[in-house]
């Protein structure tokens, strides 16, 4: 059995706010303190309508899942409340919906357990969720102490998993959360609960937590080589804790663009990919690493290594990240290689990126679905 036998294609949309008004290039950060007076709700309204159409197109084209996520105080996404997006598209889709997701320590965890259960019941069991700690930037935007974030995160996940899997009512006595009657209605459609992942950026703490709880793991914002080490460590710790290790436990990200030939694909994709790294992700080390968000050794490790926020050149980016632009053959070969290298079958696909116009998203989504996915499915036959 190869990982290629089980590939899952998940279209991940950030719903970015573009274009930004003049002057944004002078800002040190386009997160946290980039003024919200730069947001035009009329432009936003048109973008939401456009983005819904792209999400629904992905469903029609047969993608296995649509994924959305949450960030605050930023042009990077117009999706601070991804459950609202999920609820809006559930009645119009038949694919799985991944909410990847709300930091559980930002919300009352019983309420988050309820919201996710609602989506799971509303969709007839099509929900997947992830528990992200949230980027450092989120802690400047929300009234949650970054120095106790990890302890609160861990406890919030514990509340949610208990709320989903144990019959209520029950009490819960924690350090941060105390419930007299934990008894959320509704309960999830899927049993014991919707597939759940922890999203991190590779810190030991999040890897260990995912392994300990037997949850899946997904990693963002770090280079491929670092991800592979994290995946190995995660699988090793997953086995150590007695949980099954399989290719569906790991989700990995790919940025891909498909066109008639390699040159055209690169020309059509590169400016938007560069926009994503240079503009979408632009922020400061201070916002990335609020006080206590990282352990002291992890802080030392991060400031000693390169980061991907706000500076970029194409050759460096494509050398360290899973980025491919080319013909269907080229894209399919690259993805097959990455899946085998990561021993992972779940692919989070960034096919709409940065300030990419609607026509390119439609073209890319369509070509990927009609020309790349069948080629990858065919590889499955080849290895059997």
């Amino acid at each position: 059995m190869s990982v290629l036998d089980e590939l899952e294609f998940m279209f991940f949309h950030f719903l970015p706010y573009t274009p930004l008004p003049d002057g944004y290039k002078e800002a040190d950060s386009l997160w946290v303190d980039y003024p919200n007076t730069n947001f035009d709700p009329v432009v936003g309204h048109e973008l939401y309508k456009r983005y819904w159409s792209e999400l629904l197109l992905a469903d029609k084209l047969g993608y296995d899942a649509i994924m959305v996520n949450e960030h605050h105080n930023t042009q990077y996404t117009m999706n601070p409340a991804p459950n609202l997006t999920a609820a809006a598209i559930i009645p119009h889709t038949s694919c799985r919906i991944g909410v990847f997701g709300t930091p559980p320590n930002f919300e009352q965890p019983n309420r988050l357990a309820e919201e996710y259960a609602m989506l799971d019941v509303m969709s007839g069991g099509r929900l997947e969720v992830a528990f992200p700690l949230g980027t450092g930037m989120e802690y400047w935007a929300n009234s949650v102490n970054p120095a106790t974030a990890r302890a609160r995160f861990r406890e919030a996940i514990d509340v949610i998993l208990k709320a989903w899997t144990q019959p209520g009512p029950m009490g819960y006595a924690g350090e941060f959360y105390n419930y007299r009657y934990l008894n959320p209605w509704p309960t999830p459609y899927q049993k014991p609960h919707p597939p759940a992942y922890i999203v991190g950026s590779g810190s030991e703490e999040t890897v260990e937590l995912a392994a300990e709880l037997g949850l899946g793991y997904s990693v963002v914002f770090i280079p491929t080589s670092a991800q592979l080490k994290v995946f190995d460590r995660y699988r090793e710790r997953l086995a150590h804790h007695g949980h099954e290790v399989n290719s569906k436990k790991v989700t990995f990200g790919v940025m891909a663009y498909v066109a008639e030939n390699d040159k055209q694909a690169e020309e059509e994709f590169m400016p938007h990919c560069m926009y994503f790294f240079e503009t979408g992700l632009k922020t400061t080390p201070r916002y990335l690493m609020p006080p206590g968000y990282l352990t002291v050794p992890e802080f030392r490790r991060r400031i000693s290594s390169a980061d991907v926020h706000g500076s970029a050149n194409w050759d460096d980016l494509t050398a360290i990240n899973r980025i491919v632009a080319g013909t269907p053959e080229k894209v399919a070969d690259a993805i097959a290689h990455w899946a085998e290298e990561a021993q992972a079958s779940r692919i989070s696909l960034n096919l709409a990126l940065g300030d990419m116009p609607h026509w390119k998203v439609v073209k890319n989504l369509t070509l990927f679905a009609e020309e790349v996915i069948p080629r990858l499915r065919a590889k499955k036959v080849a290895v059997v």
């Binding site: 009234s143 102490n145 970054p146 120095a147 106790t148 400061t284 201070r286 690493m289 609020p290 006080p291 206590g292 990282l294 002291v296 802080f299 030392r300 400031i303 000693s304």
Partner: protein
């Protein structure tokens, strides 16, 4: 510069927290304890003159400088309990002169409220933690780290010996991150102290409130609010000095010694 040359270094375990206390002066002299602020990089030079009259004791708070982290630290009250236990170990049961700077001033005020029987004199140097709408303190967490040193002093030369020559010095950045992390644990959610305004009226230890006229972090305008709050107190303002008043003003250092004499 060797910050601790000439100091004795006491290593204690306080309810499980490895704690370092710097000591200077005759062990039989009256004790003067100094509670440092949110960053320890600027050393302890200002304290040396006090050793002529006092047994100077400078504990490193848990999570700062050479002391270890405190397991389960959550709030300022944990620091107060830590220092009650530390004072017991050091035999500091009464007649202690306590001086606190900035975050250490907030801590000294909190300590004094519940442990005033141990104290003879209290000195609050530009203490943090009071919400004074007409003279608001800067939110330390909102200031980019590279801009903090300039806000600490009026005369920047005072700080130069203590700053790394390489602005990207890794160890310096890591040490500051650790100390700021400790501050965040206790002060991110509570930048303003709930206990001090409510209970300070019960604290009767004679108190000197001191401020640098050019404090760019906690404005001198807060001095009167503190002096009004602390029952037996006087306010002294020193010209040509910023937040790190004791580093900049020998007159302020001397005033502490005279007040505690």
């Amino acid at each position: 510069m060797n910050a601790t040359e000439g100091f004795e270094k006491l290593h204690l375990s306080v309810n499980g927290t490895d704690t370092v206390v710097l000591a200077l002066g005759d062990a039989a002299a009256p004790p003067l304890v100094f509670f440092h602020g949110a960053g320890t990089f600027h050393g302890w030079e200002f304290a040396r003159p006090w050793a002529a009259q006092f047994r100077v004791l400078i504990p490193h708070h848990p999570g700062f400088a050479e002391s270890g982290d405190m397991d389960g630290l959550r709030e300022f009250g944990d620091f107060v309990l830590h220092y009650g236990a530390l004072f017991d170990q050091l035999g500091l049961h009464r007649d202690v002169n306590l001086v606190g700077l900035s975050l250490g001033g907030r801590l000294a005020a909190r300590f004094a409220i519940s442990q005033q029987h141990r104290l003879r004199r209290l000195v609050l140097v530009a203490p943090a933690g009071l919400q004074v709408p007409e003279a608001p303190m800067e939110d330390l967490f909102r200031i980019p780290p590279e801009q903090i040193p300039a806000k600490l002093v009026k005369n920047f030369e005072v700080l130069l010996p203590w700053l790394p020559t390489d602005p990207h010095d890794l160890d310096f950045a890591v040490d500051r991150y650790r100390e700021t992390r400790t501050v965040a644990i206790v002060a991110w959610d509570e930048p303003f102290d709930r206990v001090i305004p409510r209970w300070m009226s019960t604290m009767t230890v004679p108190t000197l409130v001191m401020w640098g006229a050019d404090d760019a972090l906690i404005p001198v305008g807060q001095g009167k609010a503190w002096a009004d709050l602390v029952p037996d107190s006087e306010l002294r303002v020193f010209d040509d000095a910023g937040h790190l008043l004791l580093d900049e003003s020998p007159a302020a250092v001397q005033a502490v010694a005279e007040f505690c004499a």
